[in-house]
Subunit: 937 residues, 2 copies
């Protein structure tokens, strides 16, 4: 934009304005609001806005005051003088102004404001005369010098405070109000002297000099440390710049017919449709915030100043209708006249957001589509989980990852057994672990919440907690957890077992002691809202659930099937784990003997051919074979016996899940984790196991050691298990199809989708698919029940995405496992990233934690390649996502955009995913790639 031709100053006065409410980019939020209110003929003090471009010009030109700006400012000042009938610098009837920053996005408390600008020794006399209040005028002057001195001239605030305190002390008083006009006049003189000493220059007396300096100070504050920090935390770009608002001062502190306040057009906590706010008479805006006097509720104004109240209520209603959203208002009453100083869309809680959206739609203010777009998906969490009372005082110990939303209070315990014992006894406990493993599951069930020092957003603790809708703070690396001494050390603080702590899983806060919580309530508006959501969304929403209970919870939240049922969690329940361990203990030996025996068979065949069937070596080989046949008998029996014992248990699991998901598809992932995850680590369990499988403790320990892996995430897991141990695949397939046949005979509609995990090459899938189809046919033949089923695969390795065309020739569906795909695409372990990933996000090396928000640039590229290649080989291939991203709004938008059929997420995230999916569909329909969810990020 050319510096000389573009308009730099936008006037608003007397019902006319150069700008309007849509010009937030140019005028900032505040400036646009003032222009819009003026255009709506609302009582707004006249003033003008200097554009955000001027701020950028200022920086781009090496902090030069933009050329042509001052001339426009002078012209605008003349218009303001005309509108107010006052003169800037006029001794008799002085115009005073406020100078405020105002960026596109609200940055509360981040930018400084100068009030009462235009005062000097001459004009202060005029103000005193006009208001017939010398003390008021002197106090305003004193405040102005102090504020201007600190913010614009950079004099230390402490020095002013010191001078002010000395004056009070000299007079022997403690309250500001004990100082009279003469005292304040003396302080003004002292303050001016202080400024001269500190800056080497006299305090500027010319109001225009004051104005110019203040404008530059606002520009400068854009790159102040506080502003930079705030923008970093809230991901606001640095190049937006701030506008400068210069507005005629109105005074709420001109007596009891004056006042000032803030209000919302509806209750921002509950959404209730009545004016909500508070005000103080005879006060300036900062007094309301400072909390020195207790303000009145806004309703009280109706009694005190009924006319003003009625006018304000009308204005509020008008603004809400005008902006079609709840407004956050600032106003001042000067000698009985209402002035509107600010309006903006109000921030609100999740419950309020839903109620307001539904009410406004029902009131005809907005459409249903707009209502759906009005709620940030993440806000729904507040409707489903307890939250910490926002009014509560908290003693923050540390902050970890917000791994599973909600809040909980309880006593610290360090091991799952204690958690289970005390939890079952009715005590509220919080399980604190360095990290959790499937062995801790029973303790997690019994605990109110889980806290870990290690692991990311998709660590075991996080995933399991989210699945249970239970609060979890993970990867809180500031904690030093000592299982021996049973204490948590955070720097110098120590929390011992049984001390109470409170977790906020929505923000990641770990808080000392008990803090009051607010319980969630599912309202009628929520149900209505979600029904609208489902009208618009196109993506299916399924859930990740491993138990009938979770399945039922998810259906209540609107899940349309299971996208990921992890079969391994079932392996831990009750005494199954013994069978699993027995199988693992003999598995390697069984396979080794089988392989050796197969080699021997080959050798014997070769030797037979070579020797014509007769040789000493042949005899020796045959003898060896006989020995192998003998040796293999026991491990084979133990291995197959364990599987045979597991079969009916797994079948029962699936029966329960199929029943809970009657009518919906259930995607079952075959065994995925490396076998050593099932093995015991403590001496007692090892001893116990040794007895059960007839091995020595040493032998068990050796086997545990032999199964240990350097990088288990990249080890012998997923379909690699099923390939080496096809017997396991066979058992699981049999359990699935027998369960399906059973429930179908009882009238349940069942659609199993068998999912082969961790496929890197189509040949792996082929072999596993072959087993699954064979078993399915066998079961269908035996039971005479026809089962509709699919066989598909996870796409969770880069190679699978890159060769998806080949894989889709076998797979009937793809489910993107974006947790593992993110790990392998980045070469980043979610369990270990806690030591550096927060640093990365904080320093903007990565925009987000890629385990929370799908990395569209890298991982997303592979997802798109996978879908494109997959559908090139199999048109209409069913595609979903079952990584943690399936419940994250931005990622859901991505899934919609790339044409997935469904997303799958933990039960408590299902409503969030539904809303995000609806917003994605609405954004697409409106040709707008962005919607509330995307904008929020």
């Amino acid at each position: 934009m050319s510096e000389t031709t573009s308009k730099k100053v936008y006037l608003f006065a007397d019902g006319k304005a150069d700008g309007n409410g849509k010009m937030k980019d140019t005028l900032g939020g505040k400036g646009a609001g003032l222009a819009e209110m003026t255009l709506a003929s609302l009582p707004v003090p006249p003033g003008f806005t200097i554009t955000t471009d001027c701020c950028n010009l200022y920086y781009n030109s090496g902090k030069q005051f933009p050329e042509g700006l001052w001339e426009e400012v002078l012209t605008a000042m003349q218009a303001v003088e005309a509108a107010t009938g006052k003169g800037f610098g006029n001794q008799e009837n002085p115009l005073l102004v406020s100078v405020r920053s105002g960026a596109k996005f609200s940055m509360p408390g981040m930018m400084d404001t100068v009030l009462n600008l235009g005062l000097n020794d001459d004009t202060v006399a005029g103000l005193a005369a006009l208001t017939s209040n010398d003390r008021f005028a002197q106090d305003a002057y004193r405040r102005f010098i102090q504020m201007f001195g600190r913010i614009v001239l950079g004099v230390s605030g402490e020095k002013f405070d010191h001078a002010f305190d000395s004056a009070k002390k000299a007079k022997g008083v403690t309250q500001d109000t004990d100082l009279d006009a003469a005292d304040l006049r003396a302080i003004v003189a002292q303050f001016k002297e202080l400024v001269a000493t500190e800056t080497g220059q006299a305090f500027p007396t010319d109001p225009y000099d004051q104005l110019k300096l203040a404008i530059v100070a606002v520009f400068s504050s854009w790159f102040g440390k506080r502003a930079i920090d705030y923008r970093r935390i809230n991901k606001i770009p640095d190049d937006l710049g701030t506008a400068v608002n210069v507005v005629a001062m109105v005074f709420g502190n001109m007596g009891t017919d004056s006042g000032t306040g803030v209000a919302f057009t509806r209750n921002p906590s509950t959404g209730e449709g009545i004016l909500f706010g508070e005000y103080l008479t005879n006060a300036q805006g900062e007094d309301v915030v400072a909390g020195i006097r207790t303000p009145f509720k806004i309703a009280h104004l109706k009694e005190e100043m009924p006319e003003v109240y009625d006018q304000f209520a009308k204005v509020a209603q008008l603004l809400e209708k005008h902006y079609k959203d709840v407004q956050d208002l600032e106003f001042t009453i000067e000698r009985g006249k209402l002035w509107m100083l600010q309006t903006r869309n109000a921030k609100r809680t999740g419950p309020a957001a839903v109620k307001i959206a539904v009410d406004m739609a029902n009131e005809g203010i907005i459409s249903k589509q707009e209502a759906v777009n009005r709620v940030e998906p993440a806000q729904l969490d507040q409707l489903l989980h307890p939250m910490i009372d926002p009014q509560a005082e908290i003693d923050l110990l540390a902050t970890g990852l917000p791994a599973s939303p909600g809040a909980a209070t309880g006593k610290v315990v360090f091991d799952p057994d204690t958690a289970e014992e005390r939890g079952q006894a009715g005590e509220k406990v919080i399980l604190v672990r360095v990290e959790t493993s499937p062995e801790d599951f029973h303790g997690m069930v019994a605990a109110q919440a889980i806290l870990t020092a290690r692991g990311g957003m998709t660590s075991h603790a996080a995933v399991v907690a989210r699945g249970m809708g239970k609060c979890c703070v993970a990867g809180c690396s500031a904690l030093e957890i000592d299982y021996q001494t049973k204490e948590i050390r955070i720097g110098d603080r120590v929390i011992k077992e049984s001390e109470a702590i409170t977790l906020d899983g929505t923000t990641g806060r770990v808080i000392a002691g008990e803090v009051p919580l607010i319980k969630p309530e599912i309202s009628g508006e929520f149900k209505e809202f979600m029904s609208w959501v489902d009208e618009y969304r196109k993506l299916g929403v399924r859930t990740n659930a491993d138990t009938p209970h979770d399945s039922r919870v998810a259906r209540e939240f609107g899940a349309e099937g299971i996208g990921l049922c992890r079969t391994e969690h079932m392996f831990f329940e009750g005494n199954r784990i013994d069978m699993v361990r027995q199988m693992i203990m003999v598995s390697a030996e069984y396979k080794r003997l089988e392989a050796d025996r197969s080699v021997l068979h080959q050798e014997i065949a070769k030797e037979t051919a070579k020797s014509g069937g007769k040789s000493e070596r042949l005899d020796s080989l045959k003898e060896q074979l006989a020995q192998y046949d003998e040796k293999i008998a026991k491990p084979k029996q133990l291995f197959m016996g364990a599987l045979a014992a597991l079969l009916p248990m797994q079948r029962e699991d699936f029966i329960g899940i199929f029943q809970a998901m009657d009518g919906f598809p259930v995607t079952i992932r075959l065994l995925d984790p490396p076998l050593h995850e099932f093995l015991p680590h403590d001496d007692e369990t090892i001893n116990d196991l040794a007895g059960k499988v007839g091995l020595t403790v040493k032998e068990i320990e050796n086997k545990i050691e032999a199964l240990r892996e350097s990088n288990p995430m990249l080890g012998h897991r997923g379909c690699r298990l099923g390939l080496v141990y096809p017997e396991i695949t066979e058992m699981q397939a049999r359990a699935i199809f027998e369960a399906a046949a059973h429930v179908q005979q009882a009238g349940v509609k069942v659609f199993p989708e068998v999912m082969i995990p961790l496929v890197a090459d189509v040949k792996e899938l082929q072999r596993q698919e072959h087993i699954v189809r064979r078993v399915a046919n066998e079961v269908m033949d035996q039971t005479h029940v026809q089962i509709e089923y699919l066989v598909g695969t996870m796409i969770e390795l880069p190679r699978a995405a890159l060769t998806a065309d080949k894989i889709a020739r076998v797979a009937e569906f793809f489910s993107f496992g974006t947790n593992d795909l993110t790990q392998t695409t980045f070469g980043l372990s979610r369990d270990d990233a806690g030591t550096f990933l927060p640093f990365y996000v904080e320093n903007k090396i990565l925009p987000d934690d890629p385990f929370q928000v799908l990395d569209q640039e890298g991982v997303g590229q592979l997802v798109e390649i996978g879908i494109q290649k997959g559908r090139s080989a199999r048109a209409g291939l069913k595609v979903g996502i079952c990584g943690e991203h399936g419940g994250e709004p931005q990622s859901v938008h991505f899934c919609h955009r790339v044409g997935m059929n469904y997303v799958s997420c933990s039960p408590y995230r299902v409503p969030i995913a539904r809303l995000a999916a609806a917003q994605a569909a609405l954004a697409e329909a409106s040709g707008d790639g962005q919607s509330a969810a995307a904008r929020t990020a």
Copy 2:
């Protein structure tokens, strides 16, 4: 191909043949050779070949004898009868034939042969009359029934043996030769009865029935277990099929003027240019192989049958010239007449391959290009490493991965200290470990070879051993290594410490006891050969080297620079490790305090603004800050002190390497492994360290535990270290540039290429690049030396390849780290894959171990995407590879094809890479994507 129209039988007789030597696909190797020899007017017994298509037709039609085949066979038989003047089934002058399989690829010992076909009670009399040798005829008949009965009719060989033995026993003799014609006639009768009993049908007497049955038996043998196994091991496709060769019998056992033998036109072990082979008089081919009588050297034939010898020598020379390669010949002399039965290109050792190629080129038989194509790159290993004497008897214990070629013998030791002690004392020891870590390095240096039970082709042991050119067998999972009892258990066998073993790193064999080794010799031919190689190749070949010694070795092998210098290996030498550990011990605390202090600074700024510079909280915050300043002093001093101590040591390392690589580029990778790899694990060292850094043992242990990672491969390593600890990057950059300036002042030409590892996003690279360039400028300013240098990155994560366009805007070169890229693309840990990857390769789930041979389909796709995107952003971007694949011939072909500038590999692989690169260039020039290397695989 239509079944009815295509020719099924190819005749060869009397100098005419339907086929020729190029028709291996159709006629198999043997059939094509017979046709070609016939066309060359060589003395070949007449016969015909049934095409490989017939074999496939047979299987594709459900084992039906192909339509039309029999008619063609009959026609061909008539021609053979005409050529021999004998009649098939003719009583007076019977034609006998052999029926042999013959696939495209030689499958020695894998397919069965039937000799003397055409004999029955009538023709045997004719044979006796013709040869005037009744016993010979009866013995031939006996052998025929036995062979035909076993191979064609499926009668157990043992039963024939039993009957034969009984006959001898009945006569009271032990030797076959003690049986006379009458005895044999009786045995023939018994054999026929045996066949009738076993098969339920009389032995076929009609020669045409015999022929048809034999042809079917050859077809069937293609899917015999032995053939399938052989094809699996040698990666030969199943659908090639076998041809069937029917050839008129000639007899080497018709008396002392008859004989049979095998010969090579040049010595296949040494390449020496003289006929090499052996023969037996009065014998059939199988007798030479069986080794019952000791055969004569071929030279002896000159004395025994000078004319036959001369004829044979001429034929041999003619065949070598004709095929332009060393030939492997089979011949029979029947009553003074030479018959050639087979010719094929001879297998040869590496030294022989080189000598033969060079000699033949110098003799003008082949061009230099052809010579270069004649040596398989992998064969060069045999020229550079000791090998096990092929004549030695071996006692094989187990087979592991051929991790580093060569062979070595030594006494077993289990820990690096003992290895060092005994090795330095002059003893030959072999270090046996479950797996190795950098802490074992000194023991590896002192050992003759390394044997591990765990880890793949790119495990620590494998990589380090290859770098040293030292034999290594890795991942030998059959070994149970017990450090306590100091023994290796393999099944029931036990090898104790100090027992001798021998390793063959070229094949992966672990052998009990000492085995004689053959030492390598660098011949003049090798040098000449490699000079030709360099004429043709276009790819640069660099080396992976971390020390001046390795650099010098690599230059001797022809390396043109260093493609990967790993700086972390330097961290272990001498007392440096103490400094490294000191740095690590305080690193986390230092960074935590720094971060906390930064937060405090922010809090103070906020509170100052909020409170106007005066509040109780502000005072408390300031007090805390002072405490932090105090706390941080010690760890900061220890951290920076350790780096300061390391700087001069690293500088010295680089000086040595730069000097050794004078004139060539040196790519230096900044610190890559996770810090915990440098920490001690044994109590003694931990105690020692505690004293040195002033911490308690418990504190050290806690810190070691805190640094532990679940998946270190995906953890805090690579540039992630440099980002969190920019001080380390700075130190390393300073060491590099100070060293460069130093050597350049001394006249050495130095071109450092600083490589940032494990980049996933361009922002990581940007930050590190910024530090490197700043330090470079500082050093150049200080020293007044201008250094030509580049800053680039490893592409070793899928995300780097996928976003290579962005990365190339910063990186001046790419080096594909295909080890890690393979790990992440497959989601496969090279350290853990040993438990299932061999199963995958054996079962053809994957064609090769992707850590040995680059996976072109998946990983290669990412490499191509990376290069294409990289060069789209930076034309002419320098691209290389530094993974282990850089020295693997097939992978080098790929690197050539996708347009890399160079490959880099361990020093001892440099000649292999040079040859593979030349072959790739020649293949491209000839428009043939395939060359020797690619064909071999």
